[in-house]
């Protein structure tokens, strides 16, 4: 089988081939490593490639499978890890200079789970410095380039994950999402990402940005692939104080139940305000298709939503500053100017301002969640705008437009998925966001899968 055939397959397809022993994990891993060799110099998606470890793991996986000891659908599947997931023996930079040489002595809990499931790790994926900033360009490891247009950003902070998936440099990846960092690169790179419910996936061993908003989750090329990886990552972690103690479900089952019978909210306020016209039109077309597929799409007004920025930013700012306080004192020069400026602006936040924001957030969430009495999911553009150019972002970081529609679900803790739903005339991907009730990943993924099955956006590959 051609190497480029392997790297353009979905995880599910690859998994089938591996399970039927039509291809070995080593062949697949080698195909991905070759493509990384070929394309990463241009895309800069990986900070660290662990080729030797990956090949060794792939060989072991192949031996186990040959011996009839297949662990499951992820066994032998090459995966990339966002570089803030701690990896035992492999440096974990969090996109920072401060941790440039840090080699953790343990795996993040989710990395252990993926390892147990038999995944093969290709390396550590580039990201925003400390996962911070809507459009910041990493000053230490260089910009990640969007495979659909190399002068554009991939979105962040999990930009390396988005670019690598879109370009076929891994079969799935991990991301993390505090204000949109899984869904934004999924949207801008034309791939799929889900931010699970707060507390469903362990945060232990993931470098924090803002602990009450941080979510770890999978990114992949299809909804089914995301579901498979989520199954392996989710579940209670008694050693993570933020774990909800909730068991993982069989998310990959029931994805074929279709859209019929689902009540889908289409917000008439906030979520389209300031949207690029092409983005708005494309997402409305996607909503119409959901209706064609049998979903009951109903317009609704989302309460409290206009407070998103006022409520969210002090929470995010307070917590990220608290984490960085010591580094800011000891190593201020090792920050890039954008992130340093953001953090410094947070120095004087008082406890009362932060607490008032958290209280406002509790009330905001209560009001927001009330709409899910009437609907099962809510759809919107993932980002208001498609990918901007790296040059324009270096000149003037765009503010709130990228996280405008994603931050609400970090605040409420609800699951939210981004699936590709079209392209701009210029050829840049557009994402459809589907959000559901807390711990109702199943319904979110089901609707995403129904939409995906009726379209072929996810099958397009960028012209590299």
């Amino acid at each position: 089988m051609e190497s480029s055939e392997l790297t353009s397959m979905t995880l599910l397809e690859l998994s089938g081939l591996i399970g039927r022993r039509q291809v070995s994990p080593q062949e697949v891993t080698r195909a991905y490593l070759e493509r990384i060799d070929d394309l990463n110099p241009r895309l800069n998606a990986y900070i660290t490639v662990t080729a030797d470890e990956a090949l060794a793991d792939a060989r072991r996986a192949g031996e186990e499978i040959a011996a009839g000891q297949r662990r499951g659908p992820l066994h032998g599947i090459p995966i990339g890890l966002k570089d803030l997931y701690e990896t035992k023996g492999v440096r974990t930079t969090a996109g920072s200079k401060i941790l440039a040489d840090w080699v953790p002595d343990r795996d993040a809990h989710t990395v252990s789970l993926l390892r147990q499931a038999g995944a093969v790790f290709l390396g550590k994926l580039n990201m925003h410095e400390w996962a911070m900033g809507g459009t910041s360009i990493n000053p230490h490891y260089g910009p990640v380039r969007n495979p659909w247009s190399l002068e554009c950003i991939p979105g962040g902070s999990s930009g390396g994950s988005g670019a690598a998936l879109s370009a076929g440099l891994c079969a799935a990846a991990t991301g993390s999402d505090t204000a949109g960092s899984i869904r934004i690169p999924a949207s801008l790179c034309g791939i799929v990402g889900i931010k699970p419910t707060y507390g469903l996936v362990s945060l232990r061993g993931i470098v924090p940005l803002s602990s009450s908003l941080d979510h770890a989750g999978p990114m992949a090329r299809t909804v089914a692939d995301c579901a498979l990886v989520l199954e392996a990552m989710a579940g209670p972690d008694p050693d993570d104080p933020f774990s909800a103690g909730r068991e993982a479900e069989a998310y990959s089952q029931g994805l074929d139940r279709g859209a019929r019978g689902l009540r889908v909210g289409l917000p008439t306020n906030y979520f389209f305000e300031g949207a690029d016209p092409e983005v708005a039109a494309t997402v409305l077309k996607a909503a119409a298709m959901l209706s064609d597929l049998g979903a009951q799409v109903m317009e609704l007004v989302v309460p409290a939503i206009e407070k998103t920025e006022a409520v969210g930013m002090p929470c995010l700012m307070g917590e990220s500053y608290a984490y960085h306080q010591r580094y800011l004192r000891e190593r201020p020069d090792d920050y890039g100017p954008q992130v340093l400026g953001m953090l410094r602006s947070r120095e004087n936040l008082s406890a009362a301002e932060y607490i008032n924001a958290q209280w406002a957030r509790a009330d905001y969430s209560r009001q927001f969640l009330s709409i899910f009495d009437q609907v099962d999911v809510m759809v919107s553009p993932t980002s208001l705008i498609p990918a901007a150019t790296i040059e324009s972002c270096e000149a003037e970081p765009t503010g709130f437009a990228l996280i405008h529609n994603t931050l609400p679900f970090d605040l409420t803790g609800q699951p939210a998925l981004s699936v590709p739903c079209g392209f701009t005339e210029g050829g840049l991907p557009i994402g459809l966001q589907i959000a559901g009730r807390r711990f109702d990943e199943a319904t979110v993924l089901r609707l995403g899968a129904a939409y995906e099955a009726a379209t072929d956006w996810h099958k397009r590959m960028p012209p590299l």
Copy 2:
């Protein structure tokens, strides 16, 4: 039946008489109102007595019961409400001057629930100003006096509730507990109080002190009475953002299962450090009795517990300051000097200090809760010391001794009960604290009931 006989009965006994129509709610209510008339001038337990409303409610309850429409065990039972529970049409001071004339236009959610259960409200109970301060004396409504020794404090902040129950001025009362404010007056007044699991009882319509630590709960003269009131107060409240969404259980069932088979942790560190020798000896005797009753009492070392004050105080301080910020700006002269001083000392708390404390709290809770892998409950003195004199507290507020053993369970959110377990030579009550797993009120109450059934401390009445 003699009026004093009625007011010295347990709620369960009264409820039985009312259910069998051997006594009417009006007779019972009148007996309590007479006793309040007689004793409240000395004890100062009530800020507001709502005699007319109580008699009207009692009459209606009597009519319903006579018509065969008995609502349940609380129907026609006279109850006192801590004066931070909002009551529609009845002023709610929170022990403050600022709210001295505030008449809410709604009931607290728990007040509605108790009303639906048929409870008759006798009035609003005195408390620390804004529920704040270990031994502060209310500067606006005067000190509550401990029925066991009138020159002593009843403990706080629910001091009116504790004194009223101990003196027979209500059949049950509500309290609230942020650092120990239900359990401390229960301990110092020789009655029973339970701080339920965080989020089990709605906080909506209860004037807050520190929202991540506030707990509402019942106080009564026996464990069974507490269980009955808790049944009525607990349960999900979709309009309370801090509600855990957890259904109430039949806490009053299964209280007779005894102590046999329960694993009881007796801490060898922290919980007896600085304890008054009489308190320590009495509580150890109570633990020995639990062993006699068939419980498996085992000594254990509680991890992380020495961090209680360092972890807890910034959380409490930050949140109480955030709530009071506006009043401090607009009406600083309407605070008493103790509370004003406490609040002012919190002005400069930064968001980072508060957040770091909340993170430390999450880790503290995780470590603390791990001991409940080995034991079902943990016992300790409720307070390290018995009631001090009002005079000594006015001169120098005692610091951490009263909340030393109670605050840990506000931080972890676990249920914790105080039951009377003896008296000092000077005749002051001593409380035994029993804490259990989150949402395992049933086991905590069961052990408390087993201990109570084997002793008669709860039957003693103060010599008034």
